[in-house]
Amino acid sequence: MSAADLAGRPGLLARLTPGPAVRRLLRNRAFVAGLLLFGTVAILALLAPWISPTDPNRMAVRFRFREPSWDFPFGTDNLGRNMVSRVLWGGRLSLEIGLWVVMLNAVFGVVLGAAAGYFRRLDGPLMRIADALMAFPAVLLAIGIAAALGPSVATVVIALSVVYVPRTARVLRASVMVVREQDYVQAARAAGAGDGRILFRHILPNCMAPLIVQLSFVFAYAILSEAVLSFLGLGAAPTTPSWGILIAEGRSYIREAAWLTVVPGVAIATTVLGLNLLGDGLRDVLDPRLKVDA
């Protein structure tokens, strides 16, 4: 590392060591509340195979339409399936889909955003494509893509990624363009560092804060949109329930067994609320300038 690198970036080391940022996060009420909510949901979903009282698809016709009680805290559905198991397993699938979307956003959002932000010649074409994709309302485009691809879990992941990657790429592009002009980047360039080295060593590490914030919101949107797609019959097959599918199934019995709809909806709201709080806290602590971007 050259002298210019060291002299020009006093803040970098401090930002890379987790200490102070983590301490500030833990003092942020929104972050802690979000962590508790989302953490609880995530752990329960993760442990579904071990803590579910029954197989989510085990039918017991004599227990049909049981209201929530001590034996069946969330009641049972039209086939006597235990809703506790179904909600836990449903959460597993919903969170899994959300996580896939987040990972694809992290990879493609960073690659495309960094390319557009760093290489001026790529900026125009990439951003025009993003503009065209973003001219459609997010959920609507996802529905269109999923309708074309046909219902499956992979469809949902692909549709939601196509919709949200341009948005993530935009966030990253904006921060790359800011960091690109910083003195220490200019210094590194003057010291003869190549594009790859500048991008990976100097620029991207300084764009992580807005990316993390954006990804936490993408996670939240993905959970909500997954529910919409599944509800419309564009998601997973009913045998592998996600929360959206549970709501769609419950809808038919909403007059006589409202709990079938209430419980998965509360699960979605809790998860998304947790993620939103998490995102708010991260934004307040890591990147106070960033605005909400849906």
């Binding site: 065209a132 609507l140 529905i143 809808r251």
Partner: protein, 315 residues
């Protein structure tokens, strides 16, 4: 102003072309033979062949693209397989329903979002402020279609106040419109109201700390005038820029909310088209909604220029 409007209209054309290209490409995403998928498992080979010919799938790609655009310029979006009706006609027939509900929902969003956001900012750091923040967070966290179902449970099933479905024209039967459209409009409004509340609150807090507010007070103006004229005029600017986003969420939300409440609008039309794999209708509907949104956004931009003198003069 007129020149600016015209300029923006011309700038829209390339984006419109790109958007229609995406809509065209959508059918190419269908795995396997779209005609087979659309026909369903009971279709005879002759029927599938008919679908294929109807959609022009038997012709080379560039010919398909050319005829797609040629038809598009005449406002022809193809023929719905399900309804046997031209897609454009079906969409235009139902557009007023969706737009009325969207308008109702937009009004609810703006009134609720601004009122709560302003009150929270004026009562900064009090219990009122915190309650508003919780309300706003819940708003952006609750799935809108689930909220719609919960309202059906409460207001239709338990209380029997409102019908679960239907629609009445607001001009012919305003009461009927309010009875049928209120639950869908509220369900649609929830998410953006939460977003708007948060933005109005933080903008208002920011504006109230500005020097020009202190100047307004130093002039001896009553607090009501300081807030409702001097502060609000500045808060309106980000609110107007948000209207485009709000409309976008409203229109995409309408698919699922209209399906739930059986509202005969574009949303339920598309919802049915998705269930039945009616690709021309899906494609045309998406394109129609995207184009409508771009036009509405243009209107919003012009509004924005009217509200912010800095933009008006600079351009």
């Amino acid at each position: 102003m007129a020149r600016y409007a015209l300029k923006r209209l011309v700038q829209m054309i390339p984006l419109l072309l790109a958007v229609s290209l995406i809509a065209f490409a959508l059918i190419k995403l269908v795995p396997g033979d779209p005609a087979v998928v659309m026909g369903g498992s009971n279709a005879t080979p002759a029927e599938i062949e008919a679908i294929r010919r109807n959609l022009g799938l038997d012709r080379p790609l560039h010919v398909q693209l050319f005829s797609f655009y040629a038809a598009l310029f005449q406002g022809d979006l193809g023929r719905s397989l399900l309804l046997g009706q031209p897609v454009t006609e079906a969409l235009l027939e139902r557009a007023p329903v969706t737009l009325w509900i969207a308008f109702y929902s937009l009004v609810l969003t703006i009134v609720l979002g601004m009122a709560t956001g302003i009150v929270a900012a004026l009562r900064h750091n009090t219990i009122v402020d915190q309650l508003v923040s919780v309300f706003a967070l819940l708003g952006v966290s609750i799935p809108n279609f689930w909220l719609g179902l919960m309202m059906i449970v409460l207001f239709s099933v338990h209380l029997g106040w409102l019908p679960t479905s239907g629609y009445a024209d607001p001009l012919a039967d305003p009461v009927g419109f309010l009875r049928t459209a209120t639950m869908p409009a509220v369900a649609l409004a929830m998410l953006q109201t939460g977003l708007l509340t948060r933005i109005v609150r933080s903008t208002m807090l920011d504006v109230l700390g500005q020097d020009y507010i202190r100047t307004a007070r130093a002039k001896g103006l009553p607090e009501a005038r300081v807030v409702l004229r001097h502060a609000l005029a500045n808060v309106m600017i980000p609110v107007i820029t948000m209207i485009g986003l709000i409309l976008s969420v409203l229109l995409s939300g309408s698919i699922i909310v209209e399906t739930i409440f059986s509202v005969p609008g574009i949303g339920s039309l598309l919802g049915n088209a998705i269930l039945r794999r009616d690709y021309p209708m899906i494609q045309g509907g998406l394109l129609f909604v995207a184009a409508t949104l771009m036009l509405l956004n243009l209107v919003v931009d012009l509004l924005y220029a009217a509200f912010d003198p800095r933009v008006r003069v600079d351009r």
